[in-house]
Amino acid sequence: MSSAPRTEPMTAEMVSEFVYKHSTGNDIGRFLAGMKDQKKIWCQRVRGLGVAVPPVGYSEADGSPAGEWVEVQPRGTVTAIARVFRPIAELHPSDLPFAYILVRLEGADTALAHIVVDDLDRLFIGSRVEAVWKPDEERIGSIRDIAHFRVIG
C-alpha cells in the first residue's frame, strides 16, 4: 500500500454543543429539592453501604431499593484531594486553581465529591470542611447549590 495517494492534511474544527435535560426521578429529585428549598443534605440508607450520599434510590452495592431518608450534616472530613492547577474553561467549576475533594459528611457512610476553592494550603486529607451554600435565589436544585466547601480545621 505504499502507492496510496498522499496530500497535505485537511482538518476541520467543530464544536458540538447541546443542552441535555436529564430527568431526575423521585429520589435524586427530592435530594435536589432538599438542597434548593431546605439547604439540607438528605441521604438514603441502603443495603451494603449504610447511609449513602448522594442518594440515587437504590444500593449501588447490590441494586436493592433504598431505605429511609437520613439527614446528614453539611460538614465533614476530607478523604481525598485532587488539586487542579489549570482549570479547564467551560468544564471545571472554577476559573482559579481549586481542589476536588471527597468529603465524608457527618452522619454519612460514603463520601461526597465536591470542591474547595479557598485556603488550599490548609487543605489536607483529614481536614474538616463545611458546605458554603449559594444564596436562596441562586439555588436551582443542583449539586452545585453548594457553591463549594470551606476548610474549618
Binding site: 500500500m1 498522499r6 478523604t79 485532587a82 488539586r83 487542579v84 475533594i101 471527597l102 449539586i143
Partner: protein
C-alpha cells in the same frame, strides 16, 4: 463449569502509536492492520468466521462511527459480527466466549479511534453520572488524582515513588518501536514536570495517542496452522464496580483483585507471580501501583516483569490500550517482542480497564501451552 475449548491468539498487528495521524481517518488507519494481521496468519479474509470491534461514538465525535469500520474490516460477504462500546480488549473477551459457545473457530478483533480529534477531558467527563460527579466538571485526571491521593496517603507513597514507576515504564518503552514515547527519562526529570492535578504531574500521566489494532483468535485445530507459536488463553475474567467514587475504596482495586483471582483460578495458577510478565493498562503511575497491589505483584521482584512494552504510560490510545496489552503478551510469548523480549517467558497476564478510577477491569492469562486437554 462445562468443558472449555483451547483458544489462542495467532496474530496481532498494530500501527505505531502517534499523537495524531493527520493523513488518515480511524477507519483508514485500521484497514492496513487488518490486512497485516491476516497476512501474518497466512489466511484470507474469508477464512475468518467472526468479527468483533471495540470503539466509542464519543471518541469518534459522531454517532455510528463503527458502522464505517465495517467496510475496512472486509465485511463482504456479510460476516457474523458484533461491536462493543468498550476497549477492544473486551471485544477479545467476547470473541473468546463466542468460541466457547461453539459458534465460531476464528475471529478478528479490531480496535480503532482517533483520540486526537476530541478534547478527552470533556469527552470523558461525560462518562460520569450527570447529576453529581459529572455536574461538578470532573475530568479523568482529576478523578485519577483523587484516587492517587487516597492510595498514597494509605500506603505512604510519595512523589518520588510515582516518578520511579513512570521512569521504569519509560525505559521499557524506549525499546518498543510501537510506543508513542520512546525516550527513557529519569525520575528526577519526571518529578520536575508540572502538576496537572496534584498528586499527579504531567510526567506521570499516560500520553494520549492514536493507532489501530487487529488481533486474531483461533480455536484449537485452526490455531496451529495459523501461527508458529500460538499463545493460548488459559484464564480470563472481568468485573465492573459501581461508579460512585465516594462509595468505593479507591486505594484498593477491588474489581481487579476479584478478576485476577478468577482468571488465575481458571488458568490453574496460584498467584500472579507465576507469570513471567504482566501488561497493565494503567493511565498513570499511581494506578499502576494500585493494580500491582490488587493483583498481588511486587515490582521490586525480577519476576514477573511489569510492562515490558512500556505500558500505557508510553502511549495510551483510548479504546485500544487494553487490546494492545493482550497483543504485547502475544508478541512476548510467541517470540515477536524483539529487543524487549522477556527471556524464556512462558506465561503472561494482560489487563484492560474502562471508566474512571479503574472502574471496570479485565484480566487475561495466557501461556505457551494449551490449558485444557
Amino acid at each position: 463449569m462445562t468443558q472449555l475449548r483451547n483458544v489462542a491468539i495467532v496474530g496481532f498487528a498494530q500501527a505505531p502509536i502517534v499523537a495524531r495521524d493527520e493523513h488518515r481517518t480511524a477507519q483508514e488507519m485500521l484497514y492496513p492492520q487488518v490486512r497485516r494481521a491476516l497476512e501474518e496468519c497466512g489466511v484470507s479474509r474469508d477464512d475468518i468466521d467472526y468479527q468483533v470491534a471495540g470503539s466509542s461514538d464519543y471518541i469518534d465525535g459522531r454517532p455510528f462511527g463503527f458502522v464505517m469500520a465495517l467496510d475496512v474490516m472486509g465485511s463482504w460477504p456479510p460476516r457474523q459480527d458484533l461491536h462493543v462500546e468498550m476497549d477492544a480488549a473486551f471485544a477479545a473477551y467476547y470473541a473468546w466466549l463466542r468460541m466457547q459457545a461453539g459458534d465460531c473457530d476464528t475471529a478478528i478483533v479490531c480496535g480503532y479511534g482517533k483520540s486526537s480529534e476530541g478534547d478527552l477531558d470533556r469527552v470523558l467527563n461525560l462518562q460520569l453520572d450527570p447529576f453529581y460527579l459529572g455536574a461538578i466538571g470532573l475530568d479523568p485526571t482529576s478523578t485519577a488524582a483523587l484516587q492517587a491521593s487516597v492510595f498514597m496517603e494509605r500506603e505512604k507513597k510519595s512523589d518520588v515513588d510515582l516518578a520511579e514507576v513512570t521512569a521504569r515504564n519509560r525505559a521499557a518503552g524506549a525499546r518498543n518501536p510501537d510506543a508513542l514515547l520512546r525516550e527513557a527519562t529519569s525520575p528526577d526529570d519526571l518529578a520536575a514536570t508540572e502538576w496537572v492535578a496534584a498528586p499527579l504531574r504531567a510526567g506521570y500521566l499516560a500520553p494520549k495517542g492514536e493507532t489501530a489494532v487487529c488481533l486474531v483468535l483461533a480455536a484449537e485445530g485452526k490455531a496451529e496452522s495459523m501461527c508458529d507459536h500460538p499463545v493460548w488463553i488459559q484464564g480470563l475474567d472481568q468485573r465492573i464496580e459501581m461508579q460512585n467514587l465516594g462509595a468505593r475504596d479507591l486505594a484498593v482495586g477491588g474489581g481487579t483483585e476479584l478478576a485476577t483471582r478468577k482468571a488465575l483460578a481458571m488458568s490453574g495458577l496460584a498467584t500472579a507471580a507465576d507469570c513471567d510478565l504482566v501488561e497493565l493498562s494503567a493511565a498513570n503511575a499511581a494506578e499502576e501501583m494500585i493494580l500491582c497491589g490488587a493483583m498481588g505483584l511486587d515490582p521490586e521482584k525480577p519476576q514477573p516483569v511489569i510492562n515490558p512494552s512500556g505500558g500505557a504510560l508510553c502511549g495510551h490510545p483510548l479504546m485500544m490500550t487494553g487490546l494492545i496489552r493482550l497483543g504485547e503478551v502475544f508478541r512476548q510469548l510467541s517470540g515477536r517482542a524483539g529487543e524487549r523480549a522477556v527471556p524464556d517467558a512462558e506465561r503472561a497476564m494482560a489487563h484492560a480497564t474502562s471508566g474512571h478510577c479503574l472502574q471496570q477491569n479485565l484480566v487475561i492469562v495466557c501461556g505457551k501451552d494449551r490449558r485444557w486437554t
